[in-house]
Amino acid sequence: MENSSFSSKILGLAFLLALAFAAPLCAADAPQLIQPAELNKILQGPAKQRPLIIQVGFRSLYEQAHVPGSEYVGAASSAEGSKELRRRVEGLPRNRFIVLYCGCCPWSHCPNVQPAYKELQSMGFRNVRVLYIESNFGADWVDKGYPVSKGQ
């Protein structure tokens, strides 16, 4: 009896710990992700299947290297960046395929990409993906050999 009570408590603790760390990633409004390899594959394919790609981080990163065809709107954590993002997508059909990325740091810790995702969701866009950045844009896109463009 004592052993099963102890085991139950430990299992309960494990469950609570798992919930505490995994919950933010499992929440209903957690961003849907797209892996760099998958995005690269899409970019190599027919133009009509390509998403609108928006960089919501910082200009100097965009100018050093960005996903070809992507557009820069400003840091989505700022009022100006958020406003520019809304302005860019306002007239688009709500089923438009859109990919957001920043690249400053791991996507799950990025102060720009998650507000951008929420902004688009609140505007009714339902086909939005966040580029999965594990470390930063340099490590997860450029150093992997995926295509880059430079400049404004």
Binding site: N3, F6, S7, I10, L11, L13, A14, L17, A18, F21, A22, L25, F58, R59, S60, L61, E63, Q64, A65, G74, A75, S77, S78, G103, C104, C105, P106, S108, H109, P111, N112, E134, S135, N136, F137, G138, A139, V142
Partner: protein
């Protein structure tokens, strides 16, 4: 506690550790430390700091310099900066200097941040050209440690423990600058 209990406790610890470290902001980029053997010359760049003063990195030769690329909205950057302020105070008299290069799109939030965080070292606005002179800044924060001889001895990408910086700073301060003519 019998073996079954030990197994369960161990399993819980492993699961918890995996979840915890799996969601940390840990960069696995090619950072390198001062004993890596890498010591390329630091770029000669001239910037303008927030007060309008010219900031010439070459003028710091003979001192140990921490160059920090950061942004006001970058959480790991904000975590590091108070420690840089402390390190600047602690080692200033030994010839240590911190230089911040903000990658914000404009100076307004940087000025506000500078005062709020009581930054005690010069900060200049960066751009893609400056970043490329340092080999590219494709994430934040990215910090460089430059020795008294004007060479880069360490590059740290992502939030880095203060103890790592302090250990490297102390070692670089203890090294002499290159002999004249070298």
């Amino acid at each position: 506690m019998n073996s079954k209990h030990l197994f369960i406790v161990g399993a819980v610890v492993v699961v918890a550790a995996t979840l915890y470290f799996g969601t940390r902001n840990i960069s696995d980029l090619p950072s390198f430390g001062i004993n890596s053997g890498q010591h390329m010359p630091a770029p000669q760049v001239t910037l303008t700091d927030l007060s309008g003063q010219k900031l010439d990195l070459a003028s710091y030769k003979g001192e140990v310099v921490l160059v920090d690329f950061w942004a006001t909205w970058c959480d790991p950057c904000r975590a590091e900066i108070p420690h840089f302020v402390q390190l600047q105070d602690k080692y200033r008299n030994q010839g240590f200097r911190v230089v911040g290069i903000s990658m914000d799109d404009g100076p307004r939030p940087v000025l506000e941040f500078y005062g709020q965080y009581r930054m005690n070292y010069p900060v200049a606005m960066g751009n893609a050209k400056v970043a490329e002179r340092f080999g590219g800044v494709l994430g934040l924060p990215v910090s460089f440690l430059i020795g008294r001889d004007g060479r880069i001895y360490a590059r740290h990408v992502g939030e880095t423990e203060t103890s790592v910086f302090e250990s490297e700073i102390k070692e670089l301060l203890a090294r002499p600058a290159a002999a004249p003519g070298l």
